[in-house]
Subunit: 349 residues, 2 copies
């Protein structure tokens, strides 16, 4: 059993020590569900290994506080270990610290000024279709309804607004195959890809201000492949690009931009995910930013805040832990950040 | 049993109809060995599936006439089929037509003006270490001794002198890994490879005259690979180059040249094979060129003539069949070329 009345550092330690690598969240979801069921001011519902707890105070606003229960694979980094000011262990940073803060608030803030929906979900670290928040958004979007959402991903206790969108395309360069001993009979597609790479090297990514945040884009090759055999002039070379785009573009607009940059090549879309607007102009968001005393920054990586944007819920990332430590063997969270996040969010609610 | 007294077209047909895809040459080697053993003016020796037949007339010069018995894999192109002026079938072009010409000469030219060593060998179409001529060169080089050699690869009955050398290297481009959402934190190695490709596109290959032949070189990318994951700025890109070099360069000199062109990159040698000098200044070679009434041309692809060069035996390619048809499903040989090659080589011997 989890003790939600203990301090946030002990609670984080307890959460880390219940291993919950993606697809193995059942035990952790069980104890989270049981602990929240004991809290009289909450209504608790379970969807698979996703647990949702809600207050019902009839407030004018409702906010969502969400965090994922799963972690990346074990890397000889359990059990949790407190060393000086740092708590080490699998998921300490990404994101059991944030989950501990949310559980503490859920259990102890009985009369928040805004109604709150707490969401603890599974399968964030693996393929998108398994994502518990995504499944909830598709099957029961009303559960996620609200005026504003906080996703407790590690941000070093800074407010990171919205997130960039991302899309991947293949740019195909064609040539004409020939024997490499008679290379002048062919057209070398790999040599041809040099012009694609030069265009990427010269490309100047946009820096887009939105709600006072500057989103810095990027258009990059993340893969290249070409070649038939060691004695053949290749007739095809494939450059895989990743475009990280600011929230002023839809996925369709972003793809159109990449096609325009490479208008003289065949461009095939591989996958894409939408950007998320920071939504900092909403009153609940402004109150949040003021309460947590953080200067908002743009979020560059794609996160689940985009799922809230698709449901028209403005959302930010805010949580304890340095995002650069996420997915590292030696991830840790500063205990001071845990306490600070809890105190400031408590003030907001 | 093979009938070596039949005409060269019938003999080629019989050879094609004995399937001898690489590693399956035993049956063909058996019948070739048996047929040559019946020829009283020849001494016949067998080395695995390689058959060697020699005249011993005490002539001032000895020449080597060689051809491989194997073919590339079956492609629904057996049995042999005569259509108009063309004989179709697996190996008709590469190179059972040439083998038939050599067998006809071996059986019927009892008193050549030069002593002749006929070599029929296995495993030319697969990995180099299996090559029957190469094995003979390593284990019993004295068997291949001579003043001049003719390799009966398809050349459309033209004399193709020597051959280019070939080497492969990897050019490595380094960068610095980062998350693609923060691409400005990294250095994209694939973008960096653009400069390698631009240098290749601008490279002006040499055209080198030797013995009146012009060897046209080539320096080409034959492969490229790079990329860590769809969301990572890659820290390495590998460009595989193939340099086809003229016979005035040794393998070492050729490698030094490539290192010089890419002096500012890490260059790793993958493999190499030496070029072969045409050797057309040798009297036996001059007599051959005159007898076959062909204007010598340079050979661009690497062939087993280079094995003779390593044994200090000048060598040329000469045989029936269009080299562009080699390894194609619909390969054929013009019957007129079969007859012409036989008649002209008979005149030479």
């Amino acid at each position: 059993m989890l003790d939600l009345t203990t301090d946030v550092v002990s609670l984080t330690t307890a959460l880390v020590d219940i291993e919950s690598v993606s697809r193995n969240e059942k035990q952790l979801a069980d104890v989270v569900f049981a602990a929240l069921q004991d809290v009289s001011h909450l209504t608790v519902t379970r969807y698979g290994n996703t647990v949702v707890a809600r207050t019902h105070l009839g407030r004018a606003e409702r906010v969502v506080v969400a965090g994922h229960l799963d972690t990346v694979p074990y890397a000889d980094n359990l059990p949790a270990k407190l060393e000086g000011t740092r708590l080490y262990g699998l998921g300490a940073c990404d994101m059991k610290g944030g989950v501990a803060v949310a559980l503490r608030l859920a259990a102890s803030v009985a009369e928040p000024v805004r109604d709150v929906t707490y969401v603890f979900y599974d399968c964030e670290e693996i393929e998108a279709e398994r994502n518990g928040l995504g499944q909830l958004a598709r099957k029961s979007p009303e559960v996620l309804a609200g005026d504003f959402a906080v996703l407790m991903e590690p941000t070093s206790a800074q407010v990171e607004g919205g997130c960039q969108g991302t899309l991947r395309v293949d740019v195909l360069v064609s040539g004409k195959r020939s024997h490499s001993a008679r290379s002048w009979m062919g057209v070398n597609a790999i040599h041809g890809a040099g012009a694609v790479l030069a265009r990427l090297a010269e490309y100047e990514p946009r820096q887009v201000p939105i709600d006072g945040l500057v989103y810095r884009e990027g258009l990059n090759a993340v893969g290249i492949s070409g070649g038939v055999a060691g004695n053949v002039i290749p007739d095809e070379c494939r450059v895989t690009l990743n475009y990280r785009f600011a929230p002023d573009l839809s996925e369709e607009q972003a793809f159109a931009h990449v096609r325009e940059v490479f208008h003289d090549y065949e461009v095939a879309l591989l996958d894409s995910a939408p950007a998320a607007m920071p939504g900092l102009s909403h009153p609940a968001a402004a109150a949040f930013v003021e309460a947590v005393e953080a200067e908002p920054r743009p979020k560059f990586g794609w996160t689940d805040v985009a799922r809230f944007t698709e449901l028209r819920v403005p959302a930010v990332n805010y949580g304890p832990g340095d995002p650069m430590l996420a997915h590292t063997k030696d991830e840790f969270v500063e205990v001071e950040e845990l306490r600070q996040c809890e105190a400031r969010m408590r003030r907001w609610l």
